[in-house]
């Protein structure tokens, strides 16, 4: 059995600065490479910091870690799994930046608490979960399961069964093939150039945009409470369905057969065929727009939109200080530096991020304000 034959190679990565690729970073910079067999999986847990995964055409996994001496990174391998864990020498680990290069075929499971996760050109299944952090994945086949509590999720160029879930953050999926289930509470959702027969999209406070295939016999459900829906329907698509809105408008940009089926519900159909796609569109407070290809203005989120977050946990204050200043500090020192640098960084970054956030949030706020004004106007 693979598990019984597993040979555990535990490598405590505490090489001194300058011995590897991490020069100029934290005291625990390290670099290790292990050989893997086809079919092995990568399993990473990093409490805080970053997990960056890239792929190459070698059957090796290379793990580069940058962290303070208060933390360590352990890499263990068996016949079926390469496991990477960040650990604190005393208490929780501080920030650890992991750069991992894996074979293209390798499936992976990545998790963290205060962790941004980025995967490029994956060829296998990808599971990624963070509590506070953005997730960005390109590639992947098979099961693609991405979850964040506070953070945006961006997925592109993937194929398989896709499940994406966030609580507070935007979700953007582009160039994806396969059945898709997406849900967030407070965030916009955009599915662009997707090829899906079954799609289920839910948000509570956010807009939904769908610009993808509409397949015969497929099922497409999009629902939000407070936000607009924009769905692209090609002229050739055979589709029937319903739109429901309590306080909003149904706004197709082309002629479509409609029947009022209730006080807040309209059924519609485009073309007749034996197996039409089924579409359900719902928003409590927002407009439902049917558009032709090319008519939807795509608001692609900035990949760095969620990079700046006012975390108020106890573990992130020391992160930048650890890495930038390459010192091992205690809490009092951290507090002193934080007080010293907070004002300086606030002055430097606040205008920059204000502009950046305004760019993305102003249109949404403007749309909401317009809806509110519209409701006050007499019909």
């Amino acid at each position: 059995m693979l598990t019984t034959l597993a040979t555990l190679v535990a490598v405590s990565l505490t090489m001194p600065q300058g011995s590897g690729q991490g020069s100029g970073r934290g005291q625990g910079d390290s670099d290790t490479t292990v050989a893997v067999q086809q079919g092995a999986r990568l399993d990473v847990n990093n409490f805080g910091g970053e997990i960056v995964v890239r792929t190459w055409n070698q059957n090796n996994v290379r793990v580069r870690a940058s962290h303070s001496s208060r933390s360590r990174v352990e890499v263990s391998t068996s016949a079926s799994t390469v496991m990477v864990r960040s650990q604190g020498r005393r208490g929780p680990p501080s920030i650890v930046e992991l750069e991992i290069t894996v074979p293209t075929w390798m499936g992976m499971s990545l998790s963290g608490t205060y962790t941004d996760i980025s995967v490029a050109n994956a060829g296998g299944a990808v599971t990624a979960e963070s509590v506070q952090g953005d997730i960005e994945v390109t590639g992947g086949t098979g099961n693609i399961n991405l979850k964040s509590v506070e953070g945006g999720v961006t997925l592109s160029k993937t194929k398989g069964r896709i499940e994406v879930n966030s609580v507070e953050g935007d979700i953007t999926i582009t160039d994806a093939v396969g059945d898709i289930t997406v849900e967030t509470v407070d965030g916009d959702i955009a599915l662009i150039r997707v090829d899906a027969a079954n799609t289920e999209v839910n948000t509570v406070d956010g807009d939904i945009t769908y610009d993808g295939t509409i397949k015969a016999g497929g099922t497409y459900r999009f629902a939000t409470h407070d936000g607009d829906l924009a769905v692209v329907i090609p002229p050739s698509a055979c589709v029937s369905g319903s739109v429901s809105t309590f306080d909003g408008e149904f706004d197709p940009s082309f002629a479509v057969d409609t029947v009022r089926a209730g006080r807040h519900r309209i059924t519609f159909a485009q073309s007749r065929c034996s197996s039409p796609a089924r579409m359900e569109l719902e928003t409590f407070d927002g407009d439902i727009k049917l558009r032709r290809p090319g008519e939807v203005e795509l608001e692609m989120p900035d990949r760095d939109k969620h990079q700046w977050k006012p975390h108020d946990n106890d573990f992130d204050l020391d992160l930048d200080l650890d890495l930038d200043f390459d010192i091992n500090v205690d809490t009092r020192t951290i507090t002193r530096y934080a007080n010293q640098y907070a004002a300086q960084y606030a002055a430097e970054y606040a205008p920059k991020y204000a502009r950046e956030y305004a760019k993305w949030y102003a249109p949404k706020a403007a749309r909401k304000a317009a809806r509110a004004v519209r409701r006050q106007l007499p019909n």
Binding site: K159, D179, E183, V185, S244, R278, F284
Partner: protein, 222 residues
């Protein structure tokens, strides 16, 4: 959904597929969300069915059955069926049972009100009568309220294990959902029988339950 594989899900669950078939089905499951969802539903049905209590029948039917049996016909001995309850059902049976369980456990509102569904006989009976539908809705709401209250109590106990920022995010988003629930309830007071509004409320309450479950799970992992 691929009927070829849908009809084999029961065998798959029971471990009756050979290696080749199992591998082929698993490959198909990797790209078919509906099949995967169906599989999950079937597993849930089986799991719940195993915990059902045996109940005495309300009426003894054996005398009538015995009278209808010919004395010459051999009576098969199936002691195994009598001794061990084995839940190997056809997909149709499992789906019907799944719908029934959904009706009992919270999704009933969605099924009862969904305007365009092709309901099974079980569901059809539920929406034929407004009275029955209203009872289902009332029962569903009570069950959801209980679930939410229990999960909120659990979160109150457990949230100390979560980072303060995570607690803040969870609370903020629960407030977002509560606002949606409140608006839906307000609209429903003016239009109690509205299908869309009932479904919308159900969806918002489901999202609240999901968020509470997830927050509790995170606390459990901490």
């Amino acid at each position: 959904m691929n009927d070829l594989w849908t009809n084999r899900l029961s065998e798959y669950i029971d471990g009756e597929l050979d290696n080749t078939e199992r591998a082929a089905l698993e490959e198909h499951l990797a790209t078919c969300g509906h099949c995967y969802a169906t599989l999950a539903d079937l597993r849930q049905v089986i799991a719940r069915a195993k915990h059902l209590e045996d109940r005495e029948p309300a009426q003894d039917l054996w005398a009538g059955i015995r009278a209808g049996l010919t004395t010459d016909a051999p009576i098969p001995l199936r002691r195994d069926r009598l001794v061990r309850r084995r839940f190997s059902l056809t997909v149709g049976q499992l789906l019907a049972a799944s719908i029934a369980l959904v009706l009992m456990s919270g999704g009933g509102m969605w099924l009862a009100f969904r305007p365009d569904a092709q309901p099974s006989p079980i569901v059809q009976r539920g929406i034929e009568s407004n009275e029955t539908g209203n009872r289902n809705v009332a029962r569903w709401r009570v069950q959801s309220d209980i679930a939410i209250a229990e999960l909120q109590d659990a979160l109150t106990l457990n949230e100390g294990k979560l980072d303060t920022a995570t607690v803040r995010i969870v609370r903020e988003n629960l407030a977002v959902i509560d606002r949606a629930i409140s608006q839906a309830q307000h609209a429903l007071r003016r239009d109690p029988g509205n299908t869309y509004l009932n479904l919308h409320l159900a969806k918002a309450m489901r999202q609240k339950i999901e968020l509470l479950r997830r927050a509790n799970a995170l606390a459990g992992e901490s």
